[in-house]
């Protein structure tokens, strides 16, 4: 009987004392947090995708509340709606943002790009790239194992029957995960209203590039002459669009002269734009 009473008293006393102790220390060590952080977290989508450049929604919210970040429109998944809310909470002017989406800069479909070997290893672009740069003739192009599709959190990508990844613009939030995943750096985040793209990253000379891909940029420079001065340039046998707006103005001319159709209009983009 005595033991029962002693143990009861001990546990009760221990519980009360430590409860009191924790309560006092909670008051003493209370850390005041910016209430706006909580509000911002509620406004942000909470996907923790990192599109804003911070470790997650918490990081972005803290930077905004702490005044280190003044751009309210950095949240890709949230879009305009969240940007408005965030701007309202921290008292900034509303910013309008153009939706950006990921875009694969390679058109090396099964028909267009010749394969030079049989690859039978791990079904991963990164591993394939490590093993003799993959099985396709072009060592700059899409490897076709869908590393980008696998990292997409939003289900915005899928591998088409043509052997290339495709992006569903409506679902894409421009978080940039696929950009990092691609070992050949083929994916870019582009504004939704851009029209003309160079769907090639090949740096080989024209005849070589043409030998293994029907739609490679051969670096002929015909398109550069059609575009306004300085809007496009030729670098290492590859055309680069410097000023997208100027090139889009003369889209038909630039696309029309390309002998391999490496530079092309994006039909899907045009559709979305008219809708």
């Amino acid at each position: 009987m005595n033991t029962i009473i002693i143990s009861l008293v001990l546990t009760l006393a221990l519980g009360l004392l430590s409860g009191l102790f924790l309560m006092i220390s909670f008051k003493k060590f209370y850390v005041q947090e910016d209430p706006r952080v909580e509000m911002l977290l509620e406004a942000l989508p909470g996907a923790n995708c990192g599109a804003c450049g911070y470790s997650g929604c918490v990081g972005y919210a803290e930077a905004l509340a702490g005044g280190k970040e003044t751009n309210a429109a950095k949240c890709g998944p949230g879009g305009q709606e969240v940007a408005d809310k965030v701007a309202h909470i921290i008292g900034l002017d509303t910013v309008s943002i153009v939706k950006r989406v990921a875009k694969v800069m390679c058109n090396g479909t099964k028909e267009n790009a010749v394969r030079r070997s049989d690859y039978d290893g791990v079904k991963s672009c990164r591993v394939a790239d490590f093993t003799l740069k993959g099985d396709r003739g072009c060592v700059y192009g899409c490897l076709g194992f869908g590393d980008c599709v696998n990292v997409c959190q939003f289900g915005a990508m899928f591998m088409g029957d043509d052997g290339l990844p495709h992006i569903i613009n409506e679902k894409c939030t421009a978080c940039g995960k696929c950009v990092e995943a691609c070992p050949h750096d083929l994916i870019e985040l582009v504004p939704l209203d851009r029209k003309v793209f160079v769907f090639c990253k090949n740096l080989d000379r024209g005849p070589v590039a043409k030998s293994y891909c029907k739609v490679a940029c051969i670096g002929c420079g015909l398109c550069v002459k059609q575009a306004p001065e300085g809007a496009m340039k030729l670098e290492k046998n590859l055309v680069i669009i410097v000023d997208a707006e100027k090139v889009d103005e003369v889209a038909d001319k630039v696309v029309g002269v390309c002998p391999t159709k490496a530079i092309a209009l994006d039909e899907k983009f045009a559709e979305v734009k008219t809708v």
């Binding site: 002693i6 143990s7 001990l10 546990t11 430590s18 924790l22 220390s25 060590f29 791990v122 991963s124």
Partner: protein, 193 residues
């Protein structure tokens, strides 16, 4: 000399994870990345050292004089929970950077079996305060070693062709078993239990 031997025994020959199979949840759960394994390891080492000290004091100053050894389990886990809560508050107030590094891991290990196991084993073996401190610190170091080893292996595994049926937890458990085999090889080095 004895505290040192206890330290080596707890860290390697009688590694808590790989010979006692305590603390398997963080061993499997937080071992996917080396960076988070390091954070978890440090937090666990910290909590375990603190636990060893405080439970030894509670055991020798309160429970044994009152002949209440049977209450060890309840009182220990209670004291540990309070201690971790308190430490978390203090760290949050005094060092935000340390809180960021350890903060998310601290509540995770509060009521973990490895911490309670450490406290109960120390009491069972009648360690004194210094011995028990080294015991707790060694157990934490051993935990960190095991976590680091498996997280390195798991990072490598990510690019390997694991059979579909074994992906994720199954292959991790198999690796854990093989590592336990390997650690059995240390068992003869020190005779101390």
């Amino acid at each position: 000399m004895r505290p040192l031997i206890i330290f080596v025994a707890a860290a390697i020959t009688n590694n808590f994870i790989l010979t006692y199979f305590l603390g398997l949840c963080p061993f499997l759960g937080v071992s996917a990345r080396v960076s988070s394994a390091i954070g978890m390891g440090f937090a666990a080492t910290f909590v375990m050292t603190m636990t060893a000290i405080i439970t030894n004091l509670v055991d020798h100053l309160i429970l044994r004089p009152l002949h209440l050894e049977f209450l060890q389990m309840i009182v220990f886990i209670f004291v540990i929970a309070v201690l971790v809560q308190f430490v978390e508050m203090v760290i949050k107030k005094t060092s935000p950077s340390l809180y960021k590094a350890l903060g998310i891991f601290l509540p995770l290990i509060t009521t973990n079996c490895i911490v309670l196991g450490l406290a109960l084993l120390g009491a069972m073996r009648n360690y004194n305060l210094i011995e028990n401190t080294f015991f707790g610190f060694g157990a934490g170091v051993g935990f960190t070693i095991a976590l680091l080893l498996i997280s390195g292996i798991r990072e490598e595994l990510e690019v390997r062709d694991v059979p579909k049926a074994l992906k994720g937890a199954p292959i991790t458990l198999i690796i854990a078993g093989l590592m336990a085999f390997a650690f059995m090889g240390f068992s003869g080095i020190i005779s101390l239990q």
